[in-house]
């Protein structure tokens, strides 16, 4: 009796299962088609972002160049957006940007490279396991914190040694920016050096080279493309860096090569103009986009160059 009813129950449930299966099959077929389309839409977001950036920058920059001739913008050495008869020369900003980036690379290049040499050639596994996370922590500190560090710690130190330095100067943010970039240069260069095969080092040792000789005459030349790419990416990062220079370098738009003076970078100018009350539609508002466009093109070229260098000159082993 009980087995009979159980059997009947099971036949019913099998029939139900078949029905259910048919229903889910249609649903899942629908899903199989829907999912790729949805995911494709998501993937398009990143493309749209790029187009959004280029479109907004480009359209407003064109508007700016209708009011200010393009030659004045790129050759003018005077930037006075707020005065009675404003002048929009971008050269002081480019100058400030390049000088701060050069200072940063003078700090980050050698230190980052040496750190990479130590990590990949000399450090034991235990030391490396402690040092790498520390470098990652350094890389994760927000830039505004570095700005605070530059303004309230590094600048007073520089001024106590060298009293001519202004309270806001380009030297201190340059140095701190270098410190900020060290982890990036170090870890990218280290990756390049660790991918040099061990057999090459052993070959150098077999020829009687010391570890130092093998590092500088074999490993570094072999990893050069990666190292140069890491330097270029570091410069690009320094060019795009905003908060450190905004805080510690002030806002005077000097066209000078004197590192003790305050200079403004492209990024700091954007912050100043956008943070102040520039009414939409005014020339100064459009100058924001022209400067941003210049900045965007600079960093884009740098990044493309870095990719090109690391692809083109990579030596395969």
């Amino acid at each position: 009796m009980t087995s009979n009813s159980e059997a009947r129950k099971s036949t019913v449930s099998v029939r139900e299962m078949i029905e259910k299966k048919k229903a889910t099959k249609i649903l899942s077929k629908f899903k199989e088609k829907l999912v790729p389309m949805t995911l494709f839409l998501f993937a398009m977001v990143s493309i749209l972002t790029t187009f959004g950036i280029i479109y907004t920058l480009f359209s407003e920059t064109v508007e700016f160049f209708k009011r200010v001739p393009i030659t004045d913008f790129f050759t003018g050495t005077v930037l006075r957006p707020l005065s009675q008869n404003p002048e929009f020369g971008v050269l002081p900003l480019i100058n400030g940007t390049l000088i701060s980036s050069i200072i940063a690379m003078l700090v980050a290049g050698p230190i980052g490279l040496m750190a990479a040499v130590y990590l990949s050639e000399y450090a034991s596994d235990r030391v490396r396991r402690v040092l790498k996370p520390l470098l990652e922590i350094l890389a994760g500190i927000p830039t505004v914190v570095y700005g605070f560090f530059a303004f309230t710690f590094v600048t007073p130190i520089i001024r106590s040694v060298w009293p001519d330095v202004d309270a806001t100067n380009i030297l201190s943010p340059g140095i701190v920016m270098g410190i900020m970039i060290i982890p990036m240069v170090a870890s990218l260069s280290e990756d390049a050096m660790s991918s040099v095969p061990k057999s090459m080092r052993e070959g150098a040792f077999a020829l009687g080279a010391t570890p130092l000789e093998s590092t500088f005459k074999v490993v570094i030349p072999a990893a050069l493309s990666g190292i140069i790419a890491s330097f270029i990416l570091g410069i690009s990062r320094a060019i795009g860096e905003t908060m450190i220079v905004t805080i510690a370098s002030g806002s005077s738009k000097n066209f000078t090569f004197d590192v003790t003076e305050s200079m403004q970078t492209m990024t700091a100018y954007i912050v100043e103009v956008a943070g102040g009350d520039a009414p939409a539609g005014s020339t100064i508002y459009f100058s924001l986009y022209a400067v941003a466009m210049t900045l965007f093109v600079f960093t884009l070229l740098m990044n493309l160059l870095a990719r090109y260098v690391s692809r083109k000159f990579r030596e395969e082993y």
């Binding site: 899942s28 972002t49 907004t56 500190i141 795009g240 943070g275 941003a292 960093t299």
Partner: protein, 213 residues
């Protein structure tokens, strides 16, 4: 942050899945890939300008949190995509092949096999990207969160402002009021502590699930 997390995680994972599992190898794929790599190198302040133009001005969002959140989402999206891609790629091929062998469809395989296996990697990458968003200041200064603070120059901790913005203003004004430097330092400690906790969680997840596969 309530805006940033869902937007970036959903779009980021979606893009990564599409790029890794659906797209045909070829020119479109390499275009999207190059595009993402270039986006990762765009200075954050340019994203600020984009946010200012599109979200604040063109779409006319009164809600500053939404505009700021969307801008930061776009900023960290490339990082999340790359991390998720790596995670999806590191799922062993034989797992998904076994799933197909059992008669599972592609979406079933992705949802039940690949996503769970890739989840720790995706989580780690997302958390690290999130900590980047938390510390980001430059896009917020451009978008116009300052205007809100101008109304409360005493430094009232407004709901609509962010820790890094407070640090920025207090540091700038520290030459005017002595206590501001101390305030900024205190806020930095709070911010760093927050980041430290987030990063430790990310590292913990990574270590805990690393041996599994």
């Amino acid at each position: 942050m309530a805006v940033v997390i869902p937007v970036t995680v959903i779009i980021g994972i979606g893009t990564a899945l599409y790029l890794e599992l659906y797209i045909k190898r070829g020119s479109i794929q390499s275009i999207i890939q190059t595009n993402i790599a270039n986006l990762a190198g765009v200075p954050s302040i340019v994203y600020g300008i984009l946010g200012l133009t599109v979200f604040v001005r063109a779409m006319d969002f009164g809600n500053i949190v939404l505009a700021g959140g969307l801008t930061l989402s776009l900023l960290i999206l490339p990082i999340v995509i790359v991390a998720a891609q790596e995670a999806v790629r590191s799922v062993p091929q034989h797992l998904s092949e076994a799933s197909y062998g059992m008669g599972a469809t592609k979406w079933q395989t992705i949802r039940r096999i690949i996503l769970p296996a890739a989840l720790p990697g995706i989580l780690t990458g997302s958390i690290l990207a999130l900590s980047r968003a938390i510390g980001e200041t430059a896009p917020l200064t451009v978008i116009g969160i300052p205007a809100l603070l101008m109304a409360h120059p005493g430094g009232i901790f407004d709901k609509f402002t962010a820790l890094p913005m407070q640090i920025y203003y207090w540091t700038l004004d520290s030459s005017l009021v002595d206590e501001y430097a101390n305030l900024a330092a205190a806020t930095i400690i709070v911010l760093l502590l927050l980041l430290f906790i987030l990063n430790s969680v990310a590292v913990l997840i990574r270590n805990k699930f690393q041996q599994r596969l």
